[in-house]
Structures are given as C-alpha cells and as structure tokens.
Amino acid sequence: MSSTALRQPIEPAPRAQPTPALDIENLDVVYRTRGRDMQVLRGISFSIAPGESYGLVGESGCGKSTAALAALSALPRNGFVRGGSVRVAGQTLASLDATALRRLRAEQISMVYQDAGRALNPSLTIFRQMAEVFELLAQPADRAADLRALCTTMLNRVQISSPDRVLDAYPHQLSGGMLQRVIIAMALAKEPSLLVLDEPTTALDATVEAEVLDLVATLRREFSTAILFISHNIGVIERMCDRVGVLYAGSLVETGPTAQLLRRPMHPYTMRLLRCLPTPGRSKATARLDTIKGFLPPPGAIIPGCVFADRCDLADTICHTTPPPEHTIATHASRCHHWQRATEQPLTATETPIPTANHSHDIVLRGTNISKTFQIGTRSLHAVTDVSFSLREGETLGIVGESGSGKTTLARLLLGLLNPDPGSIIELAGQPAAGHAAARSQDQQKALQIVFQNPDSALNRSHTVRHLIGRALARLAGLSGATRTARLTELIHAVRLTDRHLGMRPRQLSGGLKQRVAIARAFAGNPKIVICDEPTSALDVSVQAAILNLLADLQARENTSYVFISHDLGVVRYLSDRIAVLYLGRIMEIGPAEAVFEGPHHPYTEALLSSIPTPFNESNTTQTTRIRLHGDIPSALNPPTGCVFHTRCPRKLGPICETTEPAPETINDHTIACHIPRNQLGKRP
C-alpha cells in the first residue's frame, strides 16, 4: 500500500472519500461472435472501497467472470467494452497505454481464478513463476537469494509449512489446495490494492475450501487489500463479503450489505434464489424447494424492460417495457419496479410436504464388506474398503464424501460396472447379485438403474429423446408398439417434459432438461433402486431445486429407493432418510439422517458439517464452533495406518489411532467408527 499512497492518481477522486480500489460505472460489455454483438454486461455500476470485500453472486452465464476480466482489462479477444468506465485505484483503464496498464497489473491488481492447476505454467518451477512477480516490482530484488527469501516469506504467510519443497516443485507435483495457496501467495506478493477472486474455491473439496477461505479472510485483514469476490455460492459470499451485488443476465439487480441483502432481499430474483437452496432444516418431508420458472435469457438477448420480467410472478406491463430504475434505501439498492413487494411474491411450490414414500421393512439392496482394489502398476489403490449398508424400500441412503472418498467407485460397484474384490457381497431383494452387470439376471438389471452426474456424458448425443427413452423402455420394460408410445408419453410428462421435446437431441436441451431425460430413462423399467451420482452438481441452484423436487415426487409415487451420492451436505440432507459418510473408501459414520446431523458425530462428519458455507448457518458467524482440518486428503495409494482419518483428525487420541483401525459401533441404528467413546463425541450445539 505504501507505493500506492505515494503515487498521484491520474484523475481526482470524485468525492471527498478515499479513492475506491475499483470503481465500475455503467459498464457495457459485448462479445462479438460471427459478426454479431452480444451484450453480456448491461450497464453495471459498483465500487469497492480500499480494504473492502465485495461479492458478485449469480448463476452461470450471468456475466460474473466477464465483470472480473473487465476489471483487469483482460477480456477475451472477442470481448469489447461498449460503454461506461472501469477505474482501478483512480486510474481509468481505457485511458492507459500498454506500459501503464502493465505497470498497473504489476503493482496494483491481482487475480485468482478457479482452476489453480491451469493457472500456473506446467513447465516452470513455482519459484520461477513467483519470482517474476517480485522482478516486476518497482524496487526489484536482483539477487537470486533475495528473490528466494521473498518467495519463502510469502509462502509462509499463506501457511505453507515447507516452502523450499514447494518452490522447487512443478505445478503438477502439488495438490489443488496447495496450488491455490501458491496462487494466492503470488497474487498478494505485490501487495495489490485490488484482488479479484473468481470462484477461487469452487474446484476444491469442502474441508480444503474452508481452510482456503479462512486464509483469504485472514490475509485480507493483514494486507488491507480490497477484494472482488465472485461466486455462484451464496454461502461462500456471505462468509467472505461486506457487500454483495446480485447479477442476473448481465444486470446488477440488487446490491447492498451482505447480511441485510440476504435476510431482507429487495429483488424478486434474490428472494427466489434464496428459497431454492436446500438449507438446513429443509427436507423432502417438510417442504418442497422453491423453483424459478422459465430460463435465463440467452446472451445477447434484447430485453426492453426488466431482465427478470419473464420469470417473475410480480411482473406486469411496465416490467416488460421499461427498465426498472434503482430504488435505494440507505446502502441497499434494487432494480425492481415492485421492490416493496419483492418478499410478498407467492411461492411457486406449496408449503405442503411431499407425500412420503411408504417405507416398508423390505430390504431391497444390501452390501456386505464391499471392497475394490485397483492395481496401478505394482501398487494397490484401495478405492473402497469393507463398506456395508442396507437400503429399504422407498428409502433414500445419502452417501457423502469428498474427492477420493470412493463414492463414485461404490456406485459403479453396486451397478456392476466394476467387479468388486472377492468377499464382497451385493444382494438385490435378498438374492446375491453377480459382480458384473452382464452376468446378472434380467430382473436384477432392471431393478437397479442410475442417474449420472453429467447428462452430457450420460445421454448419447446422436440420439433423440424419443430414442433415448424408447430404447430403455424396449430393453428394460419389454414394451413395443402402442404401449411403448403410451408409456413414453406418460414418462415424459412425469418428468415435466412435453411432447415437443421428443424429437430433440440432447444438445438442444438445457442442462436441467437433459437431466430430466436421464431421470425418465432411469425410471423406464420401473426400477426398485435408482443410484443418483451427484445428479445436480453440474446445475445451477434454481435448476437443482426443480430436480430435487422431481426426484422426491417420483420416489413418493413409485416407492423407489435411492442411493444418493453427493459432496453437498445440504442436498443430501434434503433427500435422505439415512446418511453414510465416506472417507478414503471407508464408512466413518452411517445412521438416520437426523442422528448424523445432530450428533454425536464422528470427528470427520463434525468437521465436514462445520466447513460447509451455508447461508444463515450459525457456524458462519461464531468463530469458536468452527472445526478446521489441516492438510490434504491422503492418497488412497498410500492410506494412513490405523484409523485412516488420524492424519487430519482434530481430536486424535494418541498412538491407538495410528495403530488400530476403530471397530464400527452401533447404537440405535447409528454406527460410528471411532476410538473416542460415544458420549464424548461432538454434538450439534
């Protein structure tokens, strides 16, 4: 900051207040594709005071990243600023020549983006890449030893304990969390006046994300850097930002202090977005999730009135014809004609709970000691180890785990897409099922179907919706002719698609609609069990809500059992009756959903619960209740001895954890594998 203070701003500050770190005024950005200009930012204005943290939140395609790149004058080659201005530390970007812009980048602004692995040059060491930042500073440290010392200091500040090893490493030798720390260190090394963070933790696991977010929050105070924080995750924004702006279709529809905006939104879009979230306390048994009707307008759409009018229940004539002016109460502003009524809008979903499925005591799927070892060269990777569970008719078993927990491998084992290790037992309706799907009886094949994470991969792009579902009906339900057509129509309507969609191919459908086709296909043969492998993780929250509602409805109607796999505890909580927590291929804890959430918890579950940034989560505000895990998830190639969690466990007892694998202990149908006595385990406060 000292260098900033000495430099004279090129333009005088507009007000008597200190020069904002970032000041965006009426910014219009277009992308030119095939000779057509498409507007992606529509006159957005906001400014960030020195040291302030400002969040931009919105669903995919709303222009968040474009705003970030515009703030650094780094739009893609086909992106152009068509109007308005961007000022960084008082300097108007458009007026800078190449040298001045380079100097501004070298000394004043930094950016961190989502994929740390790609943001670093794969063929240079970390040291070489970090040193560049120092070499460009006003007083360059010209001796190698000085540079090295500077880099080491910086890595220490981002809590990297072995800076020498990291400095000599190439990016591919470090984990994602470590790389993101390195990037943050590089970004802060110049002590910038503005740091732009574009989805910085989106690619990280929950426990690692929590650690990185804490780090950013700490460093922000240390460096008194202004932050522009971009995220699709409202929980993360709430934790990190003083003020927030909500972007929708390239327009900043609402801005204000974070807590106030999220608790008392003044724009119908914000209101709806918050209601879509499966926040704690919501479950399929209590209430349907709210959804937003219709679709985001395509980029470049010409919108005469309010950008949200087509999807808004409050919209009337004026909304479709006149862009809404900004209505401001103190520092909270909304661009809505009916801002006073924003919170009054009717819910699209009724508060009536979804009728519960008829839980019987019939066990439809049972796994006993399921293990899977992959041979990688001469080494063994234990992806899944001794997993046992049972699933009753009409019930949802949620499976939660971070990357490397083996949750997807488990799904593929159950389906028979992978052969389990000898000794593993999978039983369908009491009958043992062969390891490979092709060796299972036709009834068993029919009984178990899946909804994959990514519908682009799961749906054959050469086939029409009619063929995709029709083929499944022919194979799994044995239908043909008119009965098949009738059942096809019925299925399509059950997943809220229309006959119009039958002739379309996947690429003509949005992500949410594609996932509906995949769900319809999974249900074609009236399966007893559907495995849902992260079915909503590629979708925006409003679309996610609709899919979760649909899954809950189908379950209630067909009495289907689900194995629901997700890394998102909120989503799992919404749909699950029972929850299993996986870590490094082992079940740490399994039991009724309430018991897993209320405790007593396995220490890992406890950490996981407190790491999830959920809006209105008490643990966001009360520092003391947060439990943080340190370090990265160990490799399944070389799992820790004893309890696999002992390397990161905040409540490790002692040598026993390192030597002896804890035996699972079951009390009231709630199983925990931990050496700590049950009555001393953590509970929800």
Partner: protein
C-alpha cells in the same frame, strides 16, 4: 524425480528393441516369404526346375522359414546383411554408402525446413484468423499434399531450367568442395521441405494457439510481464514441446520421399537403392535397405521421445 529417469529410459529402449524385432520380421516376411520361390523369382518362369532348386539351395532359401530368419537376423546384427543377388558382393557397404548420401540430403532439408516451419507456424498463430494466418495455413497445406515428383518437376522447370538459379543434378562433380555439394543438394531437398513445411507449421500453430489461450498465459499477462517475455517464457516453451515429436515422426515420411527424389535426381541414396533392388528382385539388398531405414526411424523417434521427457517436467515424473 531423478530415480524414475533411468527406468523410463530403459523402458523406451526396450520398446524400441521390440519394435525393431517385429519390424525385422515384417521386412523378412515381405521380402522373403511373399515372393514364394525365390529361385524361380530370380531365374524367371521358364528356367529349368533343377537350376531353380540348385539356386534355392545355394541361397539357403530351401531351409525352414524360422531357420532362414534366424540366419538372416543373426548375421544382420553383426553387420553382415548378406550377399547381393545382383552384384554378388556383400550388401552392407552399398547400404552404408547410400545411407550416408541420404543423410546428407535429409540434413539439408531439415536445416531449411525446421526453423522456417516453426517460425511460420508461430507467426500464423500469433496472427490467428487474419489473412496472414490463412495464407500460411493454405500454402502450407497445399505444399504438404503435392507429391514430391510433382513439385520436383515444377521446381526443376522454374529454378533449374528457366531461372538457372540452382544446378539440376544432385551429385556434385568429383572433388567439389562442401559448399558446392550443398548447392547441388538444395534443389532435391526443396520438394522434401515442401512436404514437411505444412506438417510442422500446422503443429507449431496449433500448439501456440493452445498455449496462447491457456490460463497460465493469462496469469503471466496479468502479472504485468512484457509481451515478449510472456511469449518466450510462457507460450513458446509449452507450445513447441509437442512439435519435437512431430519433427521426429516426419523422418519416416522423409525417407519415403527420398525414394522419389533420389530416383528423379539420380542420387545414389538409400531410396534409390531400395527401388533398384526392388526392380531387380535383389532381396538381400531390399531387406538390408528397408531394415536400415526402420532402424533410423526407430532411433530418431526414441531420441525425440527421450528429449521430450527431459524437457517436460510432467513426463519426467513418469506420468504419461
């Protein structure tokens, strides 16, 4: 990191040996088994069966196939490629002399084409989608796909006969100095340059465009580095690594091209040696020539592979 380097090298070497072994079998099968009765093939359909049998016995072609192969390959590895049917003298000296001549020609072609095509590809990438890029790309594509004998004819007519810039014979007069020899090799090398230019330029362009669009390049730009440093340190380093492999695999095409160019220019290289042997059904000469080309190719690709691994830290760690 270092520790994994040795096994990696051993693995590459082992693979190369396996490839060569299989290659020798393919060549042997092609040259010795496909023609059927070798004696008949040499003496013609009207020859006396007794003479044919006698010749077969003399050549060893009446022995069981594995035994023939074993005799051939065990001699080959000691440098004994057999006796030429045509010249009745050992094959090896012919093959080695021809190989040296061919390497001279190939070297001239490489020296011209490698810098030119990489520069062309990188330049096109940095001006992607402009008319310069399109011109380089279309010209490169056209030059690459025209057979050597066609471009040779056109080049001889223009550069050799009309403009008289270059000598149209490849072999310099006896006692010519090195520069003169090179001068004679330029015209025959140009058709090869044409073929290679498009391939290498295309790869270099694609690699550069990928690197230019990569996140790490944006990181470098946003650090405030001058454009020259961004290009040299961050873009080219990553862009040109894959080009090394392409340059090496072009050795195969290059030698194929030599057959044509050497024939057309009457140059005593390995290509014209193979063609002459093929026309004369001189099978030991044919086998020796072809297997030698294969060895050169396998060696060059292996060296390129190793160079790539040494230069690329990610591959150096054993991942692939």
């Amino acid at each position: 990191m270092r520790a994994r380097l040795i096994p990696m090298l051993a693995q590459r070497l082992g693979l190369a040996l396996v490839t060569l072994l299989l290659l020798s079998m393919v060549v042997f099968a092609g040259a010795q088994l496909l023609p059927g009765n070798v004696g008949r093939a040499i003496l013609g359909p009207l020859a006396d069966p007794v003479a044919v049998a006698a010749l077969n016995h003399k050549l060893g072609t009446d022995l069981p196939v594995p035994e023939q192969y074993w005799i051939w390959i065990s001699h080959f590895v000691t440098g004994n490629m057999g006796i030429s049917y045509t010249y009745r003298t050992p094959v090896a000296p012919f093959v080695i002399a021809a190989l040296l001549n061919s390497l001279k020609l190939a070297a001239v072609a490489f020296v011209i084409v490698v810098p030119l095509s990489i520069a062309g590809g990188v330049y096109a990438a940095m001006h992607a989608r402009t008319w310069i890029d399109k011109t380089i790309s279309i010209a490169g594509l056209s030059m690459t796909v025209i057979p050597e004998f066609v471009s040779s004819i056109i080049l001889i007519l223009i550069l050799g006969i009309w403009l008289r810039w270059l000598p149209i014979t490849a072999t310099a007069p006896r006692h010519a100095d090195v520069l003169d020899q090179i001068d004679h090799l330029i015209l025959p090398a140009l058709p090869l340059v044409f073929i290679l230019f498009g391939y290498i330029a295309r790869m270099a362009r694609a690699g550069t465009i990928d690197a230019l669009d990569a996140d790490y390049t944006r990181t470098a730009t946003l650090k405030g580095l001058p454009p020259g440093v961004v290009i040299r340190r961050h873009v080219l380093r990553n862009a040109l690594l894959p080009t090394i492999t392409v340059v090496a695999t072009q050795v195969g095409y290059l030698v194929g091209g030599l057959v044509i160019v050497e024939t057309l220019f009457r140059y005593q290289g390995i290509g014209s040696l193979i063609l002459t042997a093929a026309r004369a059904k001189d099978f030991p000469m044919l086998e020796g020539g072809i297997l030698t080309i294969g060895i050169v190719y396998v060696l060059v690709t292996m060296l390129a592979d190793i160079a790539l691994v040494m230069l690329n830290p990610r591959l150096r760690d054993g991942g692939r």
